[in-house]
C-alpha cells in the first residue's frame, strides 16, 4: 500500500543520481523513504530492533539491485516491495515466539448459539472517519495491540495483500491455520475498534 504523496519531488532525477553512484543521493533516498519503510517493517516483524535490521537490509538490497529497477515503476513502490521481502526473510529466520491468547478478543456465545453481545451500530461512514489522522492512528495502534502471531497474519494478508499460501509459507503454518488466524485477527480487531467506532446516535 502506498500513499498518494511522494516525499521526493522528482524520482527520475533521484534514480539517475543513484545509478551514477551519487553518495548524497543515496542518503536522500534513505531519508526520504526510510520512515515509511520502517513503519512497514515494524508492522510485519513487530520489534523495533528487527524492523531496523529489515530497513537496513532493504536499502542494501535496493542499492545492489538498482540496475534492475525499471524506470516506469515508482521508486516508492519498488522500495516498499523490497522492504516487505526483507521483512518476510526476517520472519522466516526468526524463532517462533510463544503464542499469546486471543480468546478474550473474540465474540462469545450463549449455550443456544446466539451472540452474548448485542452489537451497537458504528458511526458511518467509517471511510469519512478514517480521513482523520487521529482515527487512522488509533486503528494502527489497535492493530499493534493484536497478539503477535495474529497481527502478522492480518498485516500480511489484509494490508500487504499476500495470498494465503504465501503467508502460510512464510510463517510456517498450514493454509488452514493461516485462514483461522486471519479470521480471528479480524474479529479481535473489530472488538478493539468497537468502543471507538460506536455510533453516538443509536
Amino acid at each position: 500500500m502506498m500513499a498518494s504523496t511522494t516525499p521526493v519531488d522528482d524520482e527520475a532525477t533521484l534514480v539517475a543520481q543513484l545509478r551514477a553512484g551519487d553518495e548524497a543521493a543515496f542518503e536522500r533516498m534513505v531519508r526520504a523513504y526510510g520512515g515509511r519503510l520502517l513503519a512497514v517493517a515494524r508492522r510485519i516483524v513487530g520489534s523495533e530492533e528487527d524492523a531496523r535490521d529489515v530497513v537496513q537490509d532493504a536499502f542494501m538490497n535496493a542499492f545492489r539491485s538498482l540496475d534492475r529497477f525499471e524506470g516506469n515503476a515508482k521508486l516508492s513502490t519498488w522500495l516498499h516491495r523490497i522492504a516487505v521481502n526483507a521483512a518476510l526473510m526476517k520472519l522466516r529466520t526468526r524463532k517462533r515466539k510463544p503464542e499469546q491468547s486471543i480468546e478474550t478478543m473474540l465474540p462469545s456465545f450463549l449455550d443456544d448459539g446466539h451472540h452474548e453481545e448485542r452489537f451497537q451500530s458504528w458511526e458511518e461512514p467509517v471511510d469519512k472517519l478514517l480521513e482523520q489522522a487521529e482515527t487512522r492512528a488509533l486503528v494502527r495502534q489497535q492493530i499493534d495491540a493484536l497478539p503477535e502471531g495474529y497481527r502478522t497474519v492480518l498485516v500480511l494478508r489484509d494490508i500487504e495483500g499476500l495470498d494465503t499460501e504465501e503467508t502460510a509459507n512464510v510463517l510456517g503454518l498450514s493454509v488452514n491455520a493461516t485462514k483461522i488466524r486471519l479470521h480471528r485477527a479480524r474479529q479481535a480487531l473489530r472488538t478493539l475498534l468497537a468502543p471507538h467506532f460506536r455510533s453516538t446516535a443509536s
Binding site: F26, R36, F119, S121, W122, V126
Partner: protein
C-alpha cells in the same frame, strides 16, 4: 444456522468462498438476525479500516531516526 456458525463462516462469505448451500443458510439467517447483520458490517469495515489506516500519508510518518540513517550509510560503505 446459529449465530455461532455464522461467525465461523464469515470470512468465507465475505471472500465469496462459501459453498452455495451454506451461503443460502447464511443469508437466510442474516435476513432474520439484525445482530449478525451488524456484526458482518463491522467485520467488513474492520478490514477496510486496517487497509486505509496503514496506507499512511507522508506527514503521518515519523522520519527515519538519524542513527539508523548512519547505520545504513555505514553498511553501504562496507559493500
Amino acid at each position: 444456522m446459529k449465530c455461532r456458525e455464522l461467525a465461523d463462516f464469515l470470512m468465507d462469505y465475505v471472500s465469496g468462498e462459501l459453498p452455495a448451500e451454506n451461503r443460502t443458510h447464511f443469508e437466510f439467517h442474516l435476513s432474520k438476525c439484525k445482530n449478525c447483520h451488524a456484526y458482518l458490517v463491522q467485520y467488513e469495515l474492520t478490514i477496510r479500516a486496517g487497509k486505509m489506516a496503514c496506507d499512511e500519508m507522508s506527514d503521518e510518518l515519523p522520519p527515519i531516526p538519524d542513527e539508523l540513517v548512519r547505520a545504513v550509510l555505514a553498511a553501504r560503505q562496507k559493500n
